[in-house]
Amino acid sequence: MRAPSPTPLLQARAITVRFGGLEAVGNLDMAIGRNAIHGLIGPNGAGKTTVLNVLTGFVRPTEGELVFDGAEIGGIGVNGFARRGLARTFQNIRLFGAMTVLESVLVGAHQRFSANALSLVFGRRAARDAEAAMIARAYELLAFVGLGAEVADRVATTLSYGHQRRVEIARALISSPKLLLLDEPLAGMNAVEKAEIADLVRQVRAQGIAVLLIEHDMQVVRRLCDHLTVLEYGRKLADGPPEEVLADPAVQAAYLGRAR
């Protein structure tokens, strides 16, 4: 008897997204394994961000279904996706203006708080302890993503671009997600920073969190990911281990002259 193959963490089945007449994603099947670093690549406008939006509830697919961690998900609002364990960052950084780094990260921990209004107003012990625990966790995560404690009280949007990206990752991680979805986290970074973030992604996976990574840099993708899905015009062009996929002539053709 063969051991049953472990079910994937997330399965997207026959996903189609249409915006008016435009088909941004067409009949896409995709499975993200538990503990995988799964790369999603493709030329500009291929539909990568749209896929990520579908997987996090931002965009309701025109057709198709999602199974996450053994259960179908849908119709639970964007916050429901986050509560189930899907945390994301944004291609264009979306930190909350006027909030400090610490506060921004704590917003990500929202679902970990449960004190009611009265215990907050009366400053009950339990409420205070929960807050202290999450603050301590936020400091840990800031260190984990490579930010010193001294940035904690700076307004997040005043940090450098690279640091803002790290804050976004910390904000996503503090909810202890099962799957972290990163939309081009390396964009606009130099080689050193890219290596640091790549390393960070590996450490995230080492903690048992699967990662979906959208990335254009093929060097990084080749070294970092254990599985790749390639999109072109919203359709799946190839799917499999990086070596195999990147050697595929169709994939190379898709990237020729269009790769960054």
Partner: protein, 679 residues
């Protein structure tokens, strides 16, 4: 049948006027996505200017000024041209600098512009009505249709004029290049800029035409009712906005349709409903609220207009302004930041100062004024929860305040004293029960009103809450059995504690101060926790907040509830401190005033509402010593409006912005822990 026919005819005349004014809202909204609340005032100015130009002489600023005494058509053309120019000027000064600002900014400025224009009109033309001169057509005998429906010649002129103006505008939009450019930028501003349409010119044209239409509607309205008055634009302005929303804001045929429907519904409602004329204003607002709930895009509109851009007034500091302005703000910032860093010590110092002032101020007169400062500061704090922290513009907040005031007044006076003959002094403790009870009732009410607004954003949210506030006011005026109607409720007992009357101004001040401590403490505890972080996250980027697992709908309702609770809670004390309340206390103007106090002091801060209330109420009194203000007291409100516009353009965060509040629980930081353990 005759009755119905007459009502329909009246409705058509009214509808034609609403339709004209609705075009103003729709045209500007289509091009710049701005609900220009000031159109109500441009409507009023159209009426005043026409009347003035028709008269041989007018009293302006108290002096008799000779006037040309034109006939109605000439005077109307003059008034329309002047108002159109004013509309363009207003856009240039107050709205254009805010084109890329968060939506809240131009919305607040447009409210401020309304206040400025209305106060100026009152200053110039006086507080009394100006009789509208009779045009010779109006002296002709009425036309009789079907033997029984009477229409004056002027009614026919009104309808014909409205029809001609609408057709002219449609032709202009369809045929002329400017009109086509207008439609193009209504479809997509970005694209319009890209293909080289000078957007600013198009916007100016929209404001000119819109203001002209508002003026035309205003002068026809004044002509029909025979007078002009500085506050005459308010209700018709709201109705026209309702009509625009009804038809689908941004759509011109929609505005015409909406205006007609509204005119007819109002005429039929006031003719057939029991006591209909009294309730006719409520009819429009119920229609508005119901429509926004069921079909926010209106009858002919597009759904995407119900959207709001990301970001808030507090997200990024404005970089406008002269160097001296920025340096002086920087000084204020420095002082406030130092004070805020003082944390609880600074708060206690402030409280000690307030106690000292309360104990030492000798005059009852000033104690009463300071009590008002504290009351308005508390109310503004309640409004600040929803506007400042959660970023939702609520123009119906006064309703919660009214709920609290009426609850306690009805119980004490109308029920216990009048029905059961219970002396208020015997049940003094009921006041202390009413405080939280009214808070809860108002909070429940707030959730009830908040729920249908959850799907709305930005401008539509403001309009819907405004509709709710007006409904509550109309109910308070007309539900005689419950509220005593416009006469209000007299003889509300002063606060009393264990038989000790707390009626003296000093006692009242300290009572208010004690409540203020409770209010600020409770709000601060909520804000400095995950709840406050969720609110601010919603304010800054609702979608990103959702993606972080914040159920934004629920937290908006929490914000409504918290703000409603404060409104009801303070309302109870307000009633007992004033000892008399009437629906006039809870007008939209009060809501706007509270909003301005919050903006003045600083949205999203704890001291801001009190700073705003202190500056405004003390100024209101001190300015009375100036001879100019004695002669024209309304100029103070004009000044408030101007200050707000300046603030919005140069300093949208308000004066006390750098008293920015921390959103983490005090004492939960690892640093603070350690200090405590050492100590």
């Amino acid at each position: 049948m005759d009755y119905l026919g007459q009502l329909l005819a009246n409705g058509l005349v009214l509808g034609a006027i609403y339709a004209l004014a609705a075009v103003a809202f729709t045209l500007v909204y289509g091009v710049v996505r701005l609900v220009n609340f000031a159109f109500g005032e441009l409507f009023m100015l159209g009426a005043f200017l026409t009347a003035s130009l028709m008269l041989p002489e007018v009293r302006l600023l108290g002096t008799i000024v000779p006037m040309p005494g034109f006939s109605l058509p000439v005077a109307a053309m003059g008034a329309i041209t002047l108002t159109a120019a004013l509309g363009v000027l207003v856009d240039r000064i107050a709205y254009r600098p805010l084109r890329n600002a968060p939506r809240l900014a131009p919305l607040i400025t447009s409210i401020a512009v309304s206040v400025v224009l209305q106060s100026l009109a009152q200053t110039i033309w006086g507080a009394e009505e100006l009789r509208f001169p009779e045009f010779y057509l109006a002296t002709l005998p009425p036309v009789v249709l079907f033997d029984s429906i009477y229409l004056s010649v002027m009614d026919l002129v009104v309808m014909a004029t409205a029809l001609a103006a609408m057709l002219g505008l449609s032709a202009f939009i369809a045929r002329s290049s400017l009109g086509r450019a207008m439609r193009a930028s209504a479809e997509d501003q970005m694209a319009a800029t890209l293909v080289g349409i000078p957007v600013n010119r198009v916007v100016a044209a929209a404001f000119a035409i819109g203001s002209g239409f508002a003026a035309l509607a205003g002068l026809l309205y004044a002509q029909t009712y025979g007078f002009a008055h500085s506050s005459m634009g308010f209700l018709p302005g709201l109705k026209a906005l309702t009509a625009a929303v009804l038809g689908g804001i941004g759509s011109i045929p929609g505005a015409a349709l909406g205006g007609l429907i509204l005119g007819l519904v109002e005429a039929l409602g006031s003719g057939y409903l029991p006591n209909g004329t009294a309730w006719k204003d409520a009819i429009s607002f119920v229609l508005l609220v119901g429509l926004l709930y069921l079909r926010p895009q209106g009858l002919l509109g597009k759904p995407e207009l119900n959207s709001a851009g990301r970001g808030s007034l507090l997200g990024g500091a404005s970089e406008f302004g002269a160097a001296w302005l920025r340096t002086s703000f920087a000084k204020v910032d420095g002082a406030l930041a130092r004070a805020a860093a003082g944390g609880p010590r600074a708060a206690l110092a402030l409280l000690a100062l307030a106690i000292l002032v309360g104990a030492l101020v000798p005059s009852d007169y000033w104690l009463r004024i300071l009590t008002m400062v504290v009351i308005y500061g508390m109310l503004a704090s309640g409004l600040n929860v929803i506007v400042g922290f959660a970023g939702l513009l609520d123009l119906g907040f006064v309703a919660f305040w009214a709920v609290g005031s009426y609850l306690t007044s009805i119980l004490f006076v109308l029920v216990l004293k009048d029905q059961f003959g219970v002396a208020p002094a015997d049940i003094w403790w009921l006041l202390y029960l009413n405080l939280p009870l009214a808070g809860l009732l108002a909070a429940g009410f707030a959730v009830l009103l908040g729920t249908p607004t959850l799907r709305l954003r930005g401008d539509y949210l403001a309009i819907m809450t405004l509709g709710f506030g007006e409904i509550v006011r109309v109910v308070a005026i007309n539900w005689m059995d419950l509220t005593n109607g416009p006469m209000g409720i007299r003889g509300i007992p002063a606060p009393n504690l264990f038989g000790i009357a707390l009626g003296s101004p000093r006692a009242q001040f300290f009572f208010a101060l004690a409540l203020a401590v409770l209010v600020v403490f409770a709000i601060a505890r909520l804000v400095r926790s995950y709840v406050g972080r969720a609110w601010v996250a919603i304010r800054e980027d609702e979608e990103a907040a959702e993606a972080m697992g914040v159920p934004t709908a629920r937290y908006k309702l929490y914000a409504y509830a918290a703000s409603g609770f404060v409104g009801g809670f303070v309302g109870v004390f307000y009633a007992h401190s004033q000892q008399y309340i009437s629906p006039l206390n809870f007008s939209l103007f009060e809501n706007i005033l509270l909003l301005m106090l919050v903006v003045l002091g600083g949205l999203g801060t704890f001291v801001g509402p009190f700073v705003g209330a202190l500056i405004w109420i003390v100024f209101l009194q001190l300015a009375l010593d100036l001879p100019f203000v004695q002669a024209y007291p309304e100029t103070r409100f004009a000044l408030l409006g101007v200050v707000l516009i300046v603030l919005m353009v140069f300093r949208p965060q308000g004066l006390a912005a750098s008293a920015r509040v921390a959103l983490t629980m005090p004492g939960a930081r690892p640093g603070a822990r350690r200090v405590k353990e050492v100590a």
